[in-house]
Symmetry: D2
Subunit: 311 residues, 4 copies
């Protein structure tokens, strides 16, 4: 299952939250502190402008600013990949061009959305993106947002043809994930990463190359310990760390489902935790998301206190 070509991404690659000021501008100082916090945590790569980064909420100027800050602050210490999330090929290609200019090491692209796209058109989409850039492309499988699933055969074919250099699987289809791992095991340099922060120990056991944990913003050290234990083959230690992080993950439900969407609750909770930990200056999410109220922030505080992450 090993290959000699090094893959772009492996290990713990958090999708970095995007700190905002109260008037919804990029909070550069907070973003730099967050990046330092993640690097200090021992992460292996950083993914900017993903769903956990509120990419869908950010105008292009904000996106450009994030990448500018990110590339500068990371300064080559770990690989930086950028989400190029948009509705269809030409729009995604425009984001890729901007990301390339910013100096990222790779891009992360979904299938088209908003449109109803045939699998053959999804395949064409990725092949056209490949023709448009030299950068490594990670396919992002996120049916909850994109409303289509990237098929296992399609991904294996795109991997074999070197159209894509990896997959971030947030589909929740663990069987499909595992079949993909086996199908691409011989493809040199190909990375398969899970987007599930609750099954990192088992994903590693299955042979996954890495994880993209939203919760890794809050506790990168925990994910680094978890991944390290799994890599050493100490599955009991990995499981114990994973179970600690599962308990912490409960904070994503802090926001009342009657008042806000599940994303607003989770992203609001991540940012509240980072704020309470002193890493970012404002627990502000982008509009039109409803913010957590004081009681909900107190709930988040309880979670991070119990996880030993305060003070």
């Amino acid at each position: 299952m090993a290959s000699t070509t090094p893959s772009l991404l492996s290990g713990v690659v958090p999708p970095v939250c995007t700190p905002l000021t109260p008037d919804h501008e990029i909070d550069a100082r907070s973003l730099e502190r967050l990046i330092a916090h993640l690097l200090d945590g021992g992460v292996d790569g950083l993914f900017f402008l993903g769903s956990s980064s509120e990419v869908a909420f950010l105008p292009d100027t904000h996106r450009a600013r994030v990448l500018e800050i990110a590339v500068g602050a990371v300064a080559g210490q770990v690989p930086v990949v950028a989400g190029v999330i948009d509705t269809a090929t030409m729009r995604v290609a425009a984001h890729i061009q901007e990301a390339a200019k910013a100096g990222v090491d790779g891009v992360v692209a979904t299938a088209p959305f908003y449109t109803r796209t045939h699998p053959a058109e999804i395949e064409r989409h990725f092949r056209l993106l490949r023709a448009a850039t030299e950068l490594p492309i990670i396919a992002y499988d996120l049916p909850v947002s994109v409303h289509s699933k990237l098929g296992g055969d399609l991904l294996a074919r795109l991997a074999a043809d070197e159209v894509i250099q990896g997959v971030k699987d947030s589909s929740g289809d663990e069987g499909g994930f595992r079949r993909l791992l086996l199908a691409t095991a011989e493809t040199p340099g190909f990375s398969v990463l899970t987007g599930s922060e609750l099954t990192v120990d088992t994903a590693a056991f299955m042979g996954a190359h890495g994880v993209v944990p939203g919760l890794g913003n809050v506790d990168p050290h925990g994910y680094a310990r978890l991944w390290d234990a799994a890599r050493r083959g100490d599955m009991a230690a990995a499981r114990a760390e994973q179970q600690r992080l599962i308990a912490l993950f409960g904070l994503v439900d802090a926001g009342a489902a009657e008042r806000m969407g599940p994303g607003s609750s989770a992203l609001g909770a991540f940012k509240a935790a980072l704020y309470l930990r002193g890493i970012i200056d404002h627990p502000v999410t982008a509009p039109p998301q409803i913010p957590l109220d004081a009681a909900e922030v107190a709930t988040v505080r309880g979670y991070i206190e119990r996880a030993g992450l305060l003070g």
Copy 2:
């Protein structure tokens, strides 16, 4: 059911196709000819950058070019509205700003998509857009793309508060459409338009203010006759014209469902028909859509021949 405030949009308001060159640039001359064709057909307004305009496939530079050409070519003869389709509030607001600069008369906005947005957040989205612009805002209800439905109570509330000045209903929920018509009947200047090209006669009978027919690109004269008959109360004539257009509408299925998405088939067929009628120079759709093949174009030709639209 009458009101004295004139509404921005009424009658036949086609969502204008976006002609492209073979290398996927905006084909300005074809777009100007298409606009002339639609105005000649007697349309009452024009909607650029909607779903039928392939807005989701077009980068921002293309979007800007379309509006520039459109505002110039229409030159105030009928109202021009622009789709400001994007994933969430700040991105939509950026498009509104561009559309305002281009000089459009109103904008058409959906609920957020890609994100999972709570109804309260959808309401906040529209209220924030209202705070960001002086332009009339038409809410676009398109669950097949947006994956959420705008509730009738929400729309009535936004109408009463003058947050939105109209609705384009492409939800296919005729009962909800009708309840909305009754609920907003006393709201001055509020427009409710149907996006269904197959039920224009009955929509007019229910009190709808207008229609946004994709097929109106191909046969604007037919839709103008249909609307005119319905407005005169000649329902039998309206129905006969509608049934003729329903037969013509069969061309949207020209593309093989095994090879392409339903949108690619419909938009490919509209453009093929416009090409065969000599109105646009290239029957080209934006990537990654699969184009119609020669046999499929011949199918389209059969439809427009039988409809008496060739030669």
Copy 3:
């Protein structure tokens, strides 16, 4: 568009509610009174064991009892059709056999559900049912429950081959409904009925053969007047009656969406209205549906008072 073969179903064919006793047995006397009320209202047929009859909640013994009472009470005054709603072919065929024994005039069947069924298998399903019975079969298109849509081509083919003798369309796809009407206009004796109680005037105008209005339980006289006006070509009168019924339809939202499903609210409201009108003895719905509370019943009372249906 006319044919000489008489169709089984036309006009107003309410899906008859199933009155229950407080311990959830069939309330025979109430059902007989409800049937008398509907016949007095001037309905043209009766549909038992449909979704509005809570068929999915009733065990087979209840289903048999309903048909026994129904066939006896209707006594041939109008056609009686029975829902044979179940997950797949052999189960549906067993219900058809029971319905035939009970003496109904036709059956109403959906595509398979619970299973994920290919369109070719849906077609096979209806063809196997045809082979299993002499009774007319009405195809029931209800994607909200069945989670697949009966395609227009499939229905037209089944109609042409005399596999099915009609369609009850509750899909909400008015364009598809209309295309189906045109596609089957020459098929002798074929009925296309709409399940939407809010667009009966326009469905009649389009050429629909009838309507299956759940709200027709509450106000059959209104639907009979509406249909009669539409049939006479008095569209203004039909529309006025339809708009009165749309206002009445508001009662379906009486139940709080925070506490119960939309079906529980609508069926609870229909039964509350029938109870308040003195037609059934108990406003009881089948478990596990949450019943309306007193305030919600008062809301229903307001609707039927305003509609002039009380006292």
Copy 4:
């Protein structure tokens, strides 16, 4: 995480295929042979009338016959549970009564389907079932069929209140599965089983009590070895066995997706494999499923040959 109350179900509990004769009657001798094959394979329990048993396709007489044969053939060697799959509470309760009469050890019930049921109504459903039987109830979470997901909080509450005695999770939500395992870890005698045949090693590692593998019909010995290795803590051996079974699992895609649903392909392949292995007499699936053709059966043969299961 251990408890002293023994749980009803643990280990490998295949959902037993239902062998049919060519005229779609229950093939008793084949079913008996299949049961013997599974017991010989070392399974820990048997689940009849689940989705893999084609329960949704079988009339009640077939269901009764299956349980009669099953209880007789198993004769107490392992626990027998029966699916009581139906649309709502009273129908499910009727199946429970039949299953109890047949002498099963527990029942497996889903949330209501076909109806649109509120979470509070789903909870009421399970509580009413509990009131109706003494038998252990396993909640079956199968959103792909039921179109709603059983929430983690709901399941934990039903477990704590002893309404349900276990969960069979076929939701594919591994994070939720794991959170449920942790939330119910202290509930005496409560079983959490995974329905995914591709992640049994990792499910065991997470603390799952057992697995319900459809593929276990074809290779029960493999699943028994896998479970045994995992239980011994020999994760490397478990993974090797799991990967062998993942390769074998490829047979579920033998049927062409253009011709049949995914269930028809998988169930057709399981039965073809059992037929080729000489365990059942006919590779017949229930209508309206499209059967595998000769080439597709040959594909299945290839899989079981490569897995060393032929001859």
